[in-house]
């Protein structure tokens, strides 16, 4: 039972990270119908920025809490800046191109960013300082769930609530929903599409950066390649929940997290990634609309 609980909570932690990344996929897909293949790299860049900031600040001798906050801030700012720029450089010129063109551009961008970090930094794994302190009150449960896992769950929950509020109640949130529903109509009623798209990329990238910081601190090492696998898994989660749907992305992420956690825990850890990929393939083949998504019928 304890083992089950450990796997359950472990799956939930995984799921939280996937959710933070999957939201970026789902939001961008909802607005411009593009699988932003480079989204995983934004998460990776967030983690790298956090690592670099934290290391520099450690040498300056700041206190750990300040380091955590500043590193998080830097990660969010830089990831957003990258997300924003990528959209302007690689996707915006292709808005009226055939559907596959922006996807190819996104794949190119993903490869480019991976190698950019590889060349500018290193191909080795970099140790990531544990920015999240061990809480004393967690002591009794430490064998089931660690402090950093609690923080991951808590931060994710807060981020979800904030995102929901933003989308439900702010002006830009409403504009986003309008654009997702019908871009032409939204344009006609005066929504600034370019702004909506940029904001979508910025929000998605910020969430990914938070995810990057948390998981890097939790696992303790990063390299240029972490974005690729995480990106595909998060995309799987987004599709699983129904791409374009925000609650769907969260639900899908937890389902994926649990699947992986239980499959590796009870079956074999050799095939960890195979489980995720198989889930992806099966979902797309048998229920491409996902759990919460509606199957779209194209008007002819």
């Amino acid at each position: 039972m304890e083992y089950f609980l450990e796997l359950f909570l472990g799956g939930m932690t995984r799921g939280s990270i996937y959710a933070l990344i999957a939201l970026g996929y789902t939001m961008v897909y909802g607005i411009i119908g593009l699988i932003n293949f480079a989204h995983g790299e934004i998460y990776m860049i967030g983690a790298f920025t956090a690592l670099i900031t934290a290391s520099v600040l450690t040498i300056f001798g700041l206190n750990p809490f300040a380091i955590l906050v500043l590193a998080g801030l830097a990660a969010v700012v830089y990831s957003s800046a990258y997300g924003f720029t990528i959209e302007k450089v690689a996707y915006k010129p292709l808005r009226n191109a055939p559907r596959l063109s922006p996807l190819i551009s996104a794949i190119g961008m993903s490869i480019f960013l991976q190698n950019y970090v590889l060349l500018a930094q290193t191909s080795d794994f970099m140790p990531f300082p544990n920015l999240i302190p061990e809480f004393a009150f967690m002591e009794p449960w430490a064998h089931i769930i660690g402090s950093s896992e609690i923080v991951i769950l808590a931060v994710t929950a807060v981020a979800m609530v904030l995102l929901t509020l933003l989308i439900k109640f702010t002006r830009i949130g409403k504009a986003m929903r309008a654009t997702a529903q019908d871009r032409k109509m939204a344009m006609l009623v005066g929504v600034n599409i370019n702004r909506v798209i940029s904001v979508t990329f910025i929000i998605g990238s910020s969430l990914a950066a938070i995810g990057g910081l948390l998981i890097a601190s939790h696992i303790g090492q990063i390299n240029f390649y972490i974005g690729f696998i995480a990106g595909i898994k998060a995309f799987t989660a987004a599709v699983l929940g129904g791409i374009g749907s925000i609650p769907g992305a969260v639900l899908g992420s937890f389902v994926l997290g649990w699947t992986e956690s239980f499959a590796t825990g009870y079956i074999s850890s050799d095939y960890e990634d195979v489980f995720a990929f198989s889930l992806l393939v099966l979902i797309l083949i048998f229920r491409p609309a996902g759990i919460l998504g509606r199957s779209e019928s194209k008007k002819v």
């Binding site: 596959l100 190819i104 551009s105 480019f112 690729f228 595909i232 599709v239 491409p288």
Partner: protein, 404 residues
């Protein structure tokens, strides 16, 4: 006035990129010794580089907008149109170069050429799937792996030779193409891309983890080179032999793809790429047509896998990652989707350039990524835009055919 404005904008952009790349490009930490290394000259590099790129990009954009308005030439054109007069001497020259190459240059050079030729064929094979039929296959390398492992394993277990396995590998490629293609080909374009990527990774992960079957990450070594009527050959002779074998296969591929392209099936592929619904409404079986394209592409990948295994004599799963698929895809994208000549040129550029310009070799993948983005943004039709065939008719006075 316009120029000053452009410079101002480009300056702003270059400032933005300096800010953007600052942490990653300038700071490098050494986590073990707690030393921070500041590389300020990178800052200047990024600043100047992005300034120039932005200026050039803007100029190109402006020119394109200008031409865009009077782009009504009647048939699809291309910048690399070779005059018919030049055609014969050019072909003769290439034949000469190709035949002499291994005798003039070293074994090492010949090997590189063979690799380039393998990519030419892979590019042409993927071109059927992506370029002609418009199916973005991101798991193409899986079929390459199928070919390579079928040779390695059939040889290891049953001692089958290269020439026996070559058609088997191609056949297995086709079979896998059909097996994988059948469930996924009804998916929308972008989902298809992701599913094929997933399949590709699954196959690689299985090869990596199923030790009893594939010998895991350590791979399979001592795969025999192709035999020449059972004769033993020196390493040099074998290299030359594989080179000419690849030349032959490349010519064969060009021949087949060219014939297919202008056939009934080839036209159906292109129509499918242009508009699926209209295509179906015109009586074309979508699933069957897609499946043929997918399976044919896979056939070529399977065949090349066999050659690859025979050439390197050692294979392991690391040769069949997603990046390999991406390289082949960037060849097709750079060359021009659906253009044979373009794909050949692109394969040579992308494979030989990093080999010969050592300075480039580290930046290989960076360049591949950048190529894909730049091509999509600035020249989506590729280096050599595919041309449609033109037909000539005598004016008919056939009364039955007229309107009135």
């Amino acid at each position: 006035m316009f120029f000053v404005n452009e410079i101002k904008k480009s300056l702003l952009i270059s400032c933005w990129f300096i800010f953007l790349t600052f942490p990653i490009m300038v700071i490098r930490i050494n986590p073990y010794e707690e030393i921070v290394d500041y590389r300020w000259n990178n800052l200047i590099l990024v600043g100047v580089g992005s300034f120039i790129l932005s200026l050039v990009g803007r100029a190109v954009q402006r020119r394109r907008e200008k031409i865009g308005q009077n782009d009504t030439d009647q048939t699809a054109g291309s910048t690399f149109r070779i005059a018919t007069k030049m055609y014969v001497p050019l072909v003769a020259l290439s034949v000469l170069v190709i035949c002499c190459f291994p005798f003039v240059f070293s074994t090492y050079q010949t090997n590189i050429m063979t690799t380039a030729l393998i990519y030419v064929v892979l590019g042409l094979g993927l071109n059927i799937v992506v370029g002609l039929a418009g199916l973005l296959d991101l798991g193409y390398v899986a079929f390459y792996a199928v070919g390579a492992y079928s040779y390695a394993l059939l040889n290891y277990h049953f001692g089958l030779g290269f020439w026996t396995v070559l058609p088997i590998g191609a056949g297995l490629g086709a079979l896998f193409g059909i097996l994988l293609g059948f469930p996924v080909l009804r998916l929308r374009g972008d989902y298809l891309a992701i599913v094929t990527l997933g399949f590709g990774e699954i196959i690689r992960l299985i090869l990596e983890n199923w030790n009893d079957f594939s010998f895991g990450p350590s791979g399979i070594a001592n795969i025999p080179r192709p035999s020449f009527f059972g004769m033993e050959m020196s390493l040099q002779a074998a290299t030359i032999y594989i080179y000419f074998l690849m030349v032959g296969l490349a010519v064969f591929t060009v021949f087949v793809v060219n014939r297919l392209q202008h056939s009934r099936i080839g036209r159906a592929w292109i129509a499918l790429r242009e508009d699926e619904i209209a295509c179906q409404a015109m009586g074309i079986d979508k699933t069957k047509t897609k499946l043929t394209a997918f399976a044919l592409g896979a056939t070529w990948a399977g065949m090349m896998g066999v050659v690859f295994a025979a050439k390197t004599t050692f294979i392991n799963p690391a040769s069949f990652t997603f990046l390999e698929s991406a390289i082949i895809l960037s060849i097709v994208v750079l060359g021009g989707m659906g253009s044979i000549l373009g794909v050949i040129i692109a394969a040579f550029i992308l494979i030989l350039l990093p080999e010969y310009l050592r300075a480039f070799s580290d930046y290989r993948m960076l360049l591949f990524g950048a190529t894909m983005v730049m091509m999509m943004v600035f020249r989506p039709q590729g280096l050599v835009a595919p041309r449609r065939r033109c037909y000539q008719f005598r004016k008919t006075d056939d009364p039955a055919a007229g309107i009135k």
